[in-house]
């Protein structure tokens, strides 16, 4: 399988996931700076992604979620625009 971006580093994973969720799940910019009450928008988007792709819904960047995020894919968004 093709070479992939470096993994295993939490900071790298978080950045990669954020870009992935922006691109395919309409995650808005600067979510990590959000101070609104309620669940973190990044967590919500991770859950949305996990649910759509049939993964275990944890809201966390677990290894299975990261594995799917690194798979080559169609560029069309998974979430309705």
């Amino acid at each position: 399988f093709p070479a992939e971006p470096p993994r295993g580093n939490e900071e790298n994973d978080a950045k990669f996931a954020e870009e992935y969720l922006k691109r395919y799940y309409n995650l808005q910019n600067n979510v990590r700076q959000s101070r609104k009450k309620g669940e973190n928008p990044l967590t919500l988007k991770i859950k949305e992604m996990q649910q759509f792709l049939g993964l275990k819904v944890t809201g966390k960047l677990d290894s299975e979620t990261m594995e799917v995020m690194h798979q080559p894919r169609c560029g069309f968004v998974d979430a309705g625009e």
């Binding site: 070479a3 649910q51 792709l53 299975e64 080559p72 169609c74 560029g75 069309f76 998974d78």
Partner: protein, 373 residues
């Protein structure tokens, strides 16, 4: 399956396409063929027709481009995003763009253009991404041998919800009646099987919508429609194996499996193959067999195999491994079963008798050697 909200697809059945440019990775004739076959995936199950034009503007414009390419959805270099396509509408609607930074191929090295194009044309026709991991419209890429590709049921249901079923009969491959003269015969020299399993002493050979049933070595083989025996089982079973201790046969198709307990499909079927411990990168199982000698179930996927412990009901650690490492002489296995202590493996038109004790192929047999012709 999902369709684009508010988009009911094209309001005509005769669609045109045009190939604006070519990737240097493949011969032009290979690109033409991959694109043509990708459209055929959809025209086989709907009333849609696709006609290639060479000038003017077509409904579906096909191009290869890298990075920014005038549609606000720039490509991202090698890997990641491979291609994208737009829902039916005028202008850019229906158009399919392929990332030129990928390595395109008609084989399995790089990204197979036919597989990716078939997915993209699903978008061009109005299908959104599916959440069924075995569907063509699932977002991630997974290689399937083009000659073995069959449009999964989820995608058939999706596209037919927009355009209806094909009215003209498809090229017959398997007739509805198993006793029809055009039914594939097990005595054909080139017969291949989708899956093989034992079932309470019988041998079951799955092929498309039917299965052959060898009740005993001295009896004539019977042929039946799968739907007649097991209405809830899908056609085109891809793998199956019997685990006698539980009196069960597990039948696999895509990312799902069905449990036949005794002679009945259990009510909680189908289940997800990921519950067995497969990673999400696996989208289908080629073959499966329980080996009495090692007391393990082996699952075969491409050139790899997994070992499953039926007692612990979990995958053994350290897998997948290469098939050839455990089964010298074999690289791919399309169907398998065990009989009288030997494993029988099918690949293409060959059948191999394999001794687990000797760890080697002991005989090369004809595919239909079990059936009296």
């Amino acid at each position: 399956f999902n369709i684009f909200p508010g988009n009911k697809g094209w309001n005509k059945k005769e669609l045109t396409y045009r190939i604006l440019n070519y990737t240097p990775d493949m011969l032009q004739s290979e690109v033409d063929y991959a694109i043509q076959r990708a459209f055929k995936v959809w025209s086989d199950v709907t009333p849609l027709t696709f006609t290639r034009i060479y000038s003017g503007v077509s409904d579906i414009e096909i191009s290869f481009a890298a990075q920014v390419h005038n549609d606000y959805y720039p490509f991202d270099g090698p890997h990641g995003t491979l291609a994208h396509a737009f829902a039916p509408s005028s202008g850019i609607g229906g158009d399919a763009h392929f990332d030129e930074d990928e390595t395109w191929t008609s084989g399995s090295n790089g990204y197979n253009l036919f597989i990716v194009a078939a997915h993209e044309f699903g978008h061009s026709l109005g299908l959104f991404h599916s959440s069924d991991p075995s569907a063509l419209m699932y977002p991630t890429y997974h290689f399937t041998e083009p000659s073995e590709f069959r449009l999964p049921e989820d995608d058939v249901n999706g596209i037919q919800s927009l355009y209806g079923a094909r009215t003209a009969p498809e090229e017959p491959t398997v007739p509805e009646k198993p006793n029809d003269p055009s039914t594939p015969s097990t005595c054909l020299p080139n017969i291949t099987f989708d899956a093989v399993t034992t079932l309470r002493g019988e041998i079951i050979f799955f092929k498309e919508k039917t299965f052959w049933r060898q009740i005993s070595q001295n009896s004539e083989v019977e042929q039946h429609l799968i739907s007649t025996f097991w209405p809830t089982l899908p056609n085109h079973i891809q793998a199956a194996y019997e685990f006698q201790d539980r009196d069960q046969v597990l039948a696999f198709k895509g990312a799902k499996y069905w449990v036949i307990s005794g002679y009945e499909v259990t009510e909680d079927s189908p289940k997800s193959i990921y519950d067995l411990g497969f990673p999400r990168t696996v989208r289908k199982v080629d073959a499966a067999v329980y080996d009495d000698n090692s007391r393990k179930t082996y699952f075969f996927v491409n050139d790899n195999y997994w070992s499953y412990d039926e007692q612990k009901q979990s995958m053994d650690s350290g897998f997948p491994k290469k098939i050839v490492d455990r089964f010298p002489g074999l690289t791919k296995i399309r169907a398998a079963f065990q009989k009288d202590g030997f494993l029988y493996f099918f690949d293409g038109h060959h059948q191999y008798e394999f001794s687990s004790a000797k760890r080697r192929v002991t005989r090369l047999l004809k595919n239909n050697s079990w059936i009296k012709c």
